[in-house]
Amino acid sequence: MQSSDGTIVRRVLAGDAEQYRLLVERYRAEFGRYAVASVGDLDAAQDAMQEAFIRAFDALATCRDPDRFGAWFFRILTNQCRNVLARRRDTVPLEEVDPPGGDRADEGLERGELGAALGAALARLTPEQREAFVMKHVDGRSYEEMAELLGVGVDALKMRVHRARDALRSLMGALR
């Protein structure tokens, strides 16, 4: 029988820090993919997630609803991912992405290139659009789940995802 988040948080706050490991395992599994997909780099995502867990531990007493640790942690993780991506963007060049309005024939592209182009294009979306797109398309979450995790309404989330798709299509040119 698995312990609920609330149970574990209360134990940690009562002094049993070792219990925090259960939350780390659980949410590395649950949100790891999201972190790697939205940051676009394994090492950077690893850093973001590690930092997020440590900050969450430090701030654990401020978590108002321990039974909803996951959603609370997700916000912290999202912030860390944004920070890490902003730092990387300053150093990683984006030449391989098509300029908007560029013209490339489909046949010329190997699939591996397209995967890389998507990664670079994702980095150019607004943070909200990128995160919503990853949650929807990479994690396969329903809009309701996303609303629960982000505390944003379903309609607003749909708009973010739709705009993200439109922007990606434009950025990647080859989808025309």
């Binding site: 790891g32 394994l42 440590i54 995967g115 439109d166 989808l175």
Partner: protein
């Protein structure tokens, strides 16, 4: 002049797994292409290293030296217990009492918690196929993706054969194909079919390290 290269509203509905009115061949192709590229991108994503846990806990334990929780905290902190037969009637009564007084109408507890897997490396790519020339969308929903209709969408070839490939953990999985977002059909090529408890059927596959075999 910059062209607006967005998807049509119907293409967005298609990608959201919702009913749509009309979709041109070009729009459908572009939408499927996006999905395929995401799948390719996602397939290259390496999982986070479990050594992350070690690093985090090292930092955590430096901040909070392990000490046994006080007796009062032990009393007040709910905890799990392995069930022994002698507890059962007492537990049932306690449960009834607590459920009567427990707070109702509270907003839900945390997001869905994926059971922490014992090993993260034991997955195998599994290919799903379905012949459905009349379908507009097909996806695979099952125990491995929380029965989410939009999580594993399939791609169609010229002859109406739909396919998708996904990494699945070793072991037993139950699933169905979802056609046009609403019609659930089992997989004729699965290992077995079982009653789903709702009047329908689920397909069952047992995934071993060699993957699934189709003759």
């Amino acid at each position: 002049m910059k062209e607006w290269d967005g998807f049509s509203a119907d293409a967005h509905r298609y990608l959201d797994g919702e009913p749509f009115e009309e979709l041109s061949g070009a729009e459908l192709a572009a939408a499927d292409r996006l999905t395929a590229e995401v799948r390719d991108y996602a397939a290259r994503l390496a999982p986070l290293d479990p050594s992350l846990d070690v690093e985090v806990m090292a930092a955590v334990l430096r901040r909070a030296p392990a000490r046994r929780p006080g007796v009062l905290a032990w009393l007040l902190a709910p905890r799990t217990v392995r069930f022994r037969p002698v507890w059962v009637p007492v537990l049932a009564a306690a449960a009834a009492l607590v459920l009567l007084v427990a707070p109702r109408g509270k907003r839900p507890a945390g997001p869905e918690v994926a059971a922490a897997p014992a090993r993260t490396a034991d997955t195998v790519f599994v290919r799903f196929e379905l012949e459905a020339p009349q379908a507009r969308t097909v996806s695979v929903a099952g125990s491995f993706n929380g029965w989410r209709v939009g999580a594993l969408t399939m791609v169609r070839d010229a002859r109406g054969m739909w396919s998708a490939t996904a990494p699945l953990p070793l072991g037993e999985h139950r699933y169905e194909f979802v056609i046009d977002g609403t019609r659930w059909v089992p997989d004729p090529t699965a290992h077995a079919e079982v009653d789903d408890g709702f009047g329908g059927r689920n397909s069952v596959i047992v995934v071993g390290p060699k993957g699934l075999v189709r003759s």
